[in-house]
């Protein structure tokens, strides 16, 4: 449900022809309101969404240099607002529920399974990579200011190759373990997600707000 609301939001933002600062402020205020409702830390959310800004800022500068200033502010505003919306979605929905929502929208189940496993082992393997890095540092490979790049390059590629082999071995053993536990390729959810009235209300409000912000400026003008 939330996914649909966010989608409507994103579409509204994405298709707005011009974003005046006032309009952007309205979007922003609504987003902050939702953030507070969702009991997320507002400051952290705003900061995380700013991660998209370096990319947008570069293109904004380019656009201004090419004479298209309106597009520049549109770029920054749209990307920031969109990123914030997705961030709120991600911050309020645990991944399995998010994926189930996607499944109900038509995403094939195999694919969401892959994503779930990816997420599950993401931190495991990242930590393994960091362990390897620690071990290498402890054995005296300086990460900076080494005299020649080539041995460090080869060391890094060896590390990645080892990580690859270990990941594949780990994957095989996980596969075997799951088969031994009777995994048939489907993960049934514990509780079937049933759309509640609150969800429908949220969706309605979200879509209405997005539509209002999208179409009203055009109508008023």
């Amino acid at each position: 449900m939330k996914i649909l609301a966010v989608l409507a939001w994103l579409v509204a933002i994405g298709t707005s022809p011009r974003i005046t600062p006032l309009l952007a402020a309205c979007y922003f205020a609504l987003l902050v309101g939702v953030t507070i409702l969702a009991r997320l830390p507002v400051g952290a959310v705003l900061l995380r969404a700013a991660g998209v800004l370096p990319f947008s800022a570069t293109f904004a500068v380019i656009s201004i240099a090419a004479g298209d200033a309106a597009r520049a502010e549109a770029l920054i505003a749209k990307s920031y607002l969109s990123a914030s919306a997705v961030l709120i979605l991600a911050g309020t929905t645990p991944l399995p529920k998010l994926l189930r929502g996607l499944e109900s929208l038509g995403v094939p189940r195999f694919f969401t399974l892959v994503v779930q496993f990816l997420y599950r082992y993401l931190f495991t393997i990242s930590e393994q990579a960091q362990h390897m890095r620690m071990a290498a540092l402890a054995r005296g490979s300086q990460s900076r200011r080494g005299r020649r790049a080539s041995p460090r390059f080869r060391a890094a590629s060896g590390a990645v190759a080892t990580l690859f082999a270990r990941s594949q071995a780990r994957a095989e053993s996980i596969h075997g373990a799951m088969l031994a536990r009777g995994f048939t390729g489907r993960m049934e959810p514990l509780a079937a997600p049933s759309p509640r009235a609150a969800d429908a209300l949220f969706l309605a409000v979200g879509v209405l707000a997005a539509a209002a912000l999208r179409f009203l400026p055009g109508a008023v003008r």
Binding site: G51, G67, R71, S79, G91, L95, L118, L163, Q168, H175
Partner: protein
């Protein structure tokens, strides 16, 4: 809010990893990239959102039949591997270091079908969890990196990876994969009307070339490392090279890249060349049709779009030929 806490921790890690101590990363903000929301115009992202899922399904189904659900853990773990591998610093001297993108590596080791699915999963996670790339733009990003990137990373290896040209094949596979994905992204941005003066486009393409070379070198090194550890490479390349294919491939890549380079000096020549490429692209595959239509609508800065479409069209055509050849070979083999 355990979940949120985890997300924040890993997100920071990922960002820190990507900015890991190189001014190269800062200089390349639009390096083969995840396009955020708000950049692409409606026809572009909508069209690509419609094009991407069938393409993914096509690539996934065509090359590998046995995708039962039980293989999901394998693909998920390899996706996690790519994530971790992307954070590894590869120093290349003069204070810079590169990072692995991974599309070609995946294609060479897991095969194009698995690579496509894994890359798509990675892009989905990056979009939803790390907000690296927009949701509406997910179709575009998927097309760029999971379809075009994977195919472009696989085909050179498939055709020329046997025998003594193996290193070159791996290098070119990785390099072309990065170039194709990046040029497609650039084309989509241009086609969405983002004004970019020629000089900036030239600089971008130059940066893409640098990334491509880096990716090629890193991939070669990693592939050789894997081979030394355990020759797990699925899909050994074709034992005999077809010279016709080699010639065709080289000519195609040269033609398509000329479209990008020459455009900065002679727009008129490019219109003709791009027109030919565009028409050729239209003739080869139905999937290309939406993109070809866009080029009819845009005048002006769409030369890069056409060249990119030409390149992607060739990649797709190559993929179709490969699949047909594989199917024919299988029939003959039985």
């Amino acid at each position: 809010m355990e979940e949120g806490h985890y997300i924040r921790y890993s997100g920071w890690n990922s960002i820190a990893g990507r900015a890991g101590g190189t001014h190269l990363t800062i200089v390349l903000p639009w390096w083969p990239v995840h396009i955020p929301d708000g950049f692409l115009s409606a026809p572009v992202w909508l069209g690509l959102d419609l094009m991407a899922p069938p393409a993914v399904v096509l690539v996934a189904r065509r090359a590998q039949r046995e995708f039962e659900g039980a293989r999901a853990p394998l693909l998920g773990v390899m996706g996690a591997f790519v994530f971790a591998a992307q954070m590894v610093n590869f120093p290349v001297g003069i204070g810079t270091s590169g990072h692995l993108l991974g599309g070609a590596l995946l294609a060479i080791t897991l095969g194009p079908a698995a690579a496509c699915v894994v890359m798509t999963a990675i892009l989905a996670i990056q979009a939803f969890v790390f907000q690296d790339g927009g949701i509406l733009a997910l179709g575009a990003n998927t097309w760029n990196m999971a379809v075009v990137g994977v195919l472009a990373g696989y085909l050179p290896y498939r055709f020329w990876g046997g025998g003594k040209w193996r290193r070159v094949a791996v290098f070119s596979a990785a390099a072309i994969s990065v170039m194709a994905a990046a040029v497609m992204a650039l084309a989509e941005l241009l086609a969405s009307g983002i004004a970019m003066p020629r000089s900036i486009v030239g600089v971008s393409v130059a940066l893409f070339v640098i990334s491509a070379v880096l990716e090629g070198a890193i991939t070669v090194a990693v592939v050789e490392g894997i081979e030394r550890l355990s020759p797990r490479l699925i899909r050994p390349a074709a034992p005999e090279r077809s010279w016709a294919l080699t010639g065709l491939g080289v000519a195609a890549v040269v033609l398509a890249s000329c479209g990008v380079l020459v455009a900065s000096t002679n727009p008129d020549g490019i219109w003709r060349l791009a027109g030919q490429l565009g028409i050729a692209a239209r003739a080869t595959s139905l999937i290309r049709a939406p993109l070809a239509d866009y080029h009819a609508g845009w005048l002006g800065a769409s030369w890069a779009a056409k060249a990119a479409a030409g390149l992607a069209g060739l990649v797709l055509a190559g993929g179709v030929c490969l699949a047909l050849g594989a199917a024919a070979g299988r029939k003959r083999g039985r």
